[in-house]
């Protein structure tokens, strides 16, 4: 009988060679234990409480900013004419973009059979859901009276007899974002069912057993169940893939369908989607690097995962840089006065600092990722991903603010100054995001146990037993 706890492969891959996807020396049992112990061991790292406290403080700032907004109105924000879209839209696009990496990792990489997705997909999907929640708050609060948004946004037979305008990209956005949230949540829940079953069996408290038992819905790992489950999961991935591309394309239509110079451009959909993936991977690294360290998940999120993510960031970063270049080129080549002026104004106008910091954070710094030594340097990667988070936020700031503040008529030019409430709401959603992520880590497996076991089985048996772990890496 083959031993379940299979011994580690004897040879270690040298640093120059690719690292394995699952560290050597693991077994089905150790995988299950190491991942579920994050929740069930009862030992919560002190650093968790520290960040949870900070996040909770910011959740309160979010509550306060939203309450004041609802009591007084959007006048407390810095938005004015001509800059009617300020932080609300900048933050909305930024958060939606961050969410996109989750779907990309869980769906697109599944279809492409990229095995390195397995131990980071749950974490990234969770990020997607909370990031989309943060994103959704902004347009709703931007309406000023979210309780009326129901009949502005959703098609339902109200007594007023009014219906949404389906020719408007803003309504497309409502459908895209709500579908995105729903399908991401469904995908995530379906993926969690077998893991809840594992937790149900391992939980020691009565409360844990009952709660995970209900969440697992009686999952028993039957071959007949897996048969339908796998195909449903694959189909969900197949449906999520066009969805993720459509969501940020539609978000870009909010801009591109208008006639404002700097917005009215056909490059927006692909450039927004690439930017979204770029921002999303940066956030996965920003949160993933501390997480794997604190909860000692280095066995599953190995240097190989980190290297792959860095390469994806480099590639999508180049798409984005191409987008910036093309915008500048079209300003010149279109020979359109307004386009040309918009571009010169972006680079040398009152908001020049935002454009050049964007280029610095989003284009220059990430070029460090070309170097293998940087991609293997955890602190460097953390700071590069932080730089991309800032850069992507600045990108949306540049697009929204610099395009609006000087349009066709000099008499209608203006400036935009965000107020303390703008900042409060923005910082509040970052706190909310962190708060939800920290809570999730405590209640559900942050790495898909069932999928890592499946990957482990494949590496052990698919390619001969001896060098299993290396084979996956190859």
């Amino acid at each position: 009988m083959a031993s379940v706890a299979h011994s580690a492969p004897e040879t270690h891959a040298p640093d120059e060679v690719v690292h394995p996807l699952i560290a050597p020396g693991n077994s089905y049992k150790s995988i299950t234990e190491k991942i579920s112990n994050v929740i069930l061991s009862g030992k919560t790292p002190r650093v968790w409480f520290f960040w949870f406290g900070i996040a909770f403080l910011f959740v309160n700032i979010l509550g306060l900013s939203a309450t004041v907004l609802l009591l007084i109105g959007t006048g407390i924000w810095g938005i004015t004419i001509p800059i009617g879209w300020g932080f609300a839209i900048i933050n909305f696009v930024w958060w939606i973009g961050i969410g996109h990496a989750g779907t990309l990792i869980s769906a697109v990489l599944l279809l492409l059979n990229q095995k390195w997705r397995t131990s980071i997909n749950r974490f990234a999907e969770t990020m997607t859901i909370f990031a989309v929640m943060c994103a959704g708050m902004f347009p709703l609060l931007h309406t000023g009276r979210p309780w009326l948004a129901a009949y502005w946004l959703m098609p339902y037979p109200s007594t007023m007899g009014v219906w949404p305008q389906f020719r408007s990209p803003l309504i497309w956005d409502v459908f895209a974002v709500s579908t995105y949230l729903t399908i991401s949540a469904v995908f995530w829940i379906v993926g969690l069912i077998p893991d809840f079953a594992a937790l149900r069996e391992r939980a020691t408290s009565r409360f844990g057993k009952v709660t995970y038992g209900m969440l697992a819905m009686g999952w028993r790992g039957s071959a007949r169940h897996w048969h339908h489950y796998e195909i449903a999961y694959l189909l969900l991935a197949g449906l999520s893939t066009p969805l993720v591309v459509s969501v940020h394309s539609i978000v870009s239509f909010d801009f591109a369908v208008s006639v404002i110079p700097g917005w009215h451009t056909t490059i927006f959909p692909p450039y927004f989607v690439a930017g979204a993936i770029y921002a999303g991977f940066a956030m996965v690294l920003t949160l993933g690097i501390p997480m794997r360290k604190v909860w000692k998940l280095e066995d599953f999120i190995t240097m190989r995962h980190i290297d792959c993510m860095a390469k994806v960031m480099l590639a999508t970063g180049l798409f984005v840089a191409y987008g910036y270049g093309m915008e500048a080129f079209m300003g010149y080549y279109s020979a359109n006065t307004y386009e040309g002026f918009m571009m010169i104004n972006r680079m040398t106008g009152p908001y020049w600092w935002s454009y050049w910091s964007l280029i610095f954070f989003n284009v220059l710094i990430p070029q460090l990722l070309w170097f293998r030594s940087i991609r293997a340097n955890i602190p460097a990667l953390f700071w590069i991903s932080m730089s991309i988070n800032i850069g992507m936020w600045l990108e949306r700031f540049v697009i929204v603010v610099t395009s609006l503040h000087r349009d066709f008529l000099p008499s209608s030019w203006g400036m935009y100054y965000p107020t303390v409430w703008d900042w409060g709401l923005f910082a509040g959603t970052i706190g909310f995001f962190l708060f939800m992520m920290l809570l999730f880590i405590r209640v559900a497996p942050i790495i898909s146990i069932a999928e890592v076991r499946g990957l482990f089985a494949e590496t052990r048996h698919g390619h001969g037993k001896k060098h299993g772990a290396e084979e996956v890496a190859a």
Partner: protein, 183 residues
Amino acid sequence: MSTHQTTTSSLHGMMAEFASAEELLDAARRTRGAGYRNVDAYSPFPVHGMDEALALPKSPVPLFVLIGALAGTALGFGLEYWVSVIEYPIMVGGKPFFSWPAFVPVAYETTILLGGLTAAISMLMINGLPMPYHPVFNVERFSHAMTDRFFLCIEATDPKFNREETKKFLEGLHPYQVSEVEE
């Protein structure tokens, strides 16, 4: 669960435990080869080749998803047409009421929405989940099926099922242990 005397009628089946996915797969093939039909395998992750080993019929989930997705397209597009042309037509810049290119994004999203919901819901319904009780959980070691052990169950409803002979057959597969599964 119950401690009363187990007869064949109160048995759900006979269950054998294995240590690896290959052993389970091999056992499933041999069980099927021996003429057993009502057989199920339990594993902590999907075992490749098990569908063929147990000769599971093709899953109907893809068909349901196709129907759900097409229904989504029809509903989304129908809603837009009805709102924009019949119920609440608004003239904007002389554009036609039935401006179908502008209706594509929403119909696209509703296609994915209903397709995805159908995938999840049909999978759960076909599998009979949520299921609050199932006899296999009566086997004490079955909880390991969620961690690192592999189980094969020949169900009592199988025409060839016979308490003694089935037990003997399963023992011939060299499992870790064979146990009776009470209803």
